[in-house]
Amino acid sequence: MLSYVVRSLLQGIAVMLVVAALAFSMFRFVGDPVVNMVGQEASQQDRQELTERLGLNDPIPTQFLRFVTNAAQGDFGISFRQQRKVSDVMLERLPATIELALLSAIFATIVGTVLGVYTAMRRDGVLSNALMSLSLVGVSLPTFLIGIGLIYLFAVVLGWLPTFGRGSPVKIGWWSTGLTTWDGLKRLILPTLTLGLFQLTLIMRLVRSQMLEIMSTDYVRFARARGIPEKTIRYRHALKNALVPVITIAGLQLGSVIAFAIVTETVFQWPGLGALFVNAVQFADVPVMAAYLIFVAFVFVVVNLLVDLAYVALDPRIALGAPRGGEAR
């Protein structure tokens, strides 16, 4: 058990170091950091001074070490474009992204599970078949078109919902939230739908196939033979077991959620990290790009670690070195 956890942890640290090396080489070798900071007009002496002060004359390994130490403390330097500390800019954007991602994850999990159970129970129903075909279309449509379609329907044609931004979020300490006002909530609806739709279809199909599989196992048949009501079997016995792989696989889907968040935030002009990253890419704002890369990798590693731990908690065989249940799927 302990050795398993330590191994997962070491792997996570190795991935972080590789990503940090990548981010560092971007930071150091893409463009000239000094020119980017003081501009083309600065005198030769100013430049040399800055080069010395930033430590750019030190050997590369020393510089990398300093980069990693600074990054671990949340210091990613100054944004070229905004001329502010990258950590400040990112911290300001963080609440918007987290609120959007969490809400869409909750939305996708609840609705996805309900629809998955429904389509599994009414296999040949008209509504089930319609839902299944619709979910295929949902997967193959690119996110930005779904977002534009929702905007057109609910904002342009019907005029029910606002189309962009967070409005004026309420400040609670350094955190800014749109959850406490009616306007903020209304602005969250369309982005949440757009971001959640892909996860929703995924969870729905997964729950459906799991439920179908479990409903034909021996223990369910035995429960039926014992005369346990069908409802209890479905929700107490089957659904609980069906949700185990759903939780882990939904966790591992985080990568695509981040990718879709980049697109969703841009479509709705949502002031989150994804939109910040797209902006940084357009203007080659390397410190922000590097910081975002490290942030994403960090979220990945943490989630993977949690998923690994959840596996061990759910299935103790894994810690003993048995093959993982999740990989065959």
């Binding site: 690119p142 930005f144 534009i148 057109y152 990718a259 890419v281 357009q282 993977n304």
Partner: protein, 314 residues
């Protein structure tokens, strides 16, 4: 004299093809027939765009501002010509822009697919054939690559290119930057598949035989192993082509793709979105439909190809 037997040989081959399981499966799959028809039509339309379109939408001299925002199926005020799919605010024919745009989309899609297939297959064969440390290194990189979303990788490559390439060249090389960015974002799938089949092939007698007669690793990999692991690559490449077209559209939509001077379908959708709020839906809807049709038919073709080449799945 010598032409006659050659002809019969070709027609015999053709007859054998018509008689094959592959063609049988094609004939009996309406989805495959419709999808391939659509794909071929769209590719031909894109190839011959200059002959099929009433104007070159990116030559300012051919645009008439008086035609601006003409509705679909109506005559423009300036040129008095009927615009089938309408015109945008500069009097650019949406139909023409559509064909020229799909040209760019298809080019980037094909070129980046070839690039990522080349990269992935090379790394996959190397990893599978040599094993050991080479294998471990390549596969770790592949794992990391696979867990990062392709869009993120492509955006990073694009951003780095922005920083490295001097501004005056950026527009000229934009197309190739996209090809490289999408290629670097999508190679991992090939590497993983090809490595797995190379591991199997390496054990076989013909590879040992080639090694014993003294062939060096490079020709063994290229001449002997490669043809035997290439099958699945075509299936992945077809599905990847659809994916690459969608990814390119996404990047261009985000504004991190092709510039205004060489718009792809994604760039056109980006413009269209800005007009949507004032009710000019046609500038957005037609490129979006084109993109969906293109990606969906290539995707369905890939699905069919996978089933047809691998009878085990059925």
């Amino acid at each position: 004299m010598s032409q006659a037997p050659a002809m019969t040989r070709i027609s015999a081959r053709f007859a054998r093809f018509l008689d094959s399981d592959f063609f049988f499966s094609y004939r009996n799959s309406p989805v495959a027939i419709v999808a391939s028809f659509l794909t071929v039509t769209l590719i031909l339309a894109a190839l011959f765009a200059p002959f099929l379109t009433p104007q070159n939408p990116f030559n300012p001299a051919e645009l008439n501002l008086m035609d601006g925002l003409t509705h679909p199926m109506q005559a423009g005020l300036g040129s008095n010509r009927v615009f089938w799919l309408g015109a945008d605010e500069q009097g650019r024919d949406v139909f023409s822009a559509l064909l020229y745009g799909s040209r760019v989309s298809l080019f980037v899609g094909f070129a980046s697919t070839i690039f990522s297939a080349f990269l992935g297959v090379t790394l996959g064969v190397l990893a599978g054939y040599f094993g050991g440390r080479t294998d471990a290194l390549i596969m770790r990189v592949t794992d990391v690559q696979l867990s990062f979303p392709a869009i993120l990788v492509a955006l990073l490559v694009f951003g780095v290119a922005r920083g490295v390439i001097p501004p005056e060249f950026q527009e000229r090389v934009a197309l190739w930057v996209m090809v490289v960015a999408l290629g670097l974002a999508n190679w991992a799938q090939y590497a993983r598949t090809v490595r797995a089949s190379t591991l199997v092939e390496r054990q076989k007698d013909y590879v040992s035989a080639a090694r014993i007669i003294g062939r060096s690793p490079a020709p063994i990999m290229a001449r002997h192993v490669l043809p035997n692991v290439a099958g699945p690559v075509f299936v992945i490449a077809t599905i990847n082509l659809a994916l690459a077209i969608l990814e390119e559209a996404t990047l261009s939509f985000l504004g991190a793709g092709l510039p205004v001077t060489q718009p792809s379908l994604g760039t056109l959708i980006r413009f269209g979105q800005q007009q949507l709020f004032s009710g000019e839906w046609w500038i957005l809807v037609f490129p979006a439909l084109m993109l969906i049709t293109l990606a969906l038919s290539i995707n369905l073709l890939g699905d069919w190809l996978r089933d047809a080449l691998d009878p085990k799945i059925k």
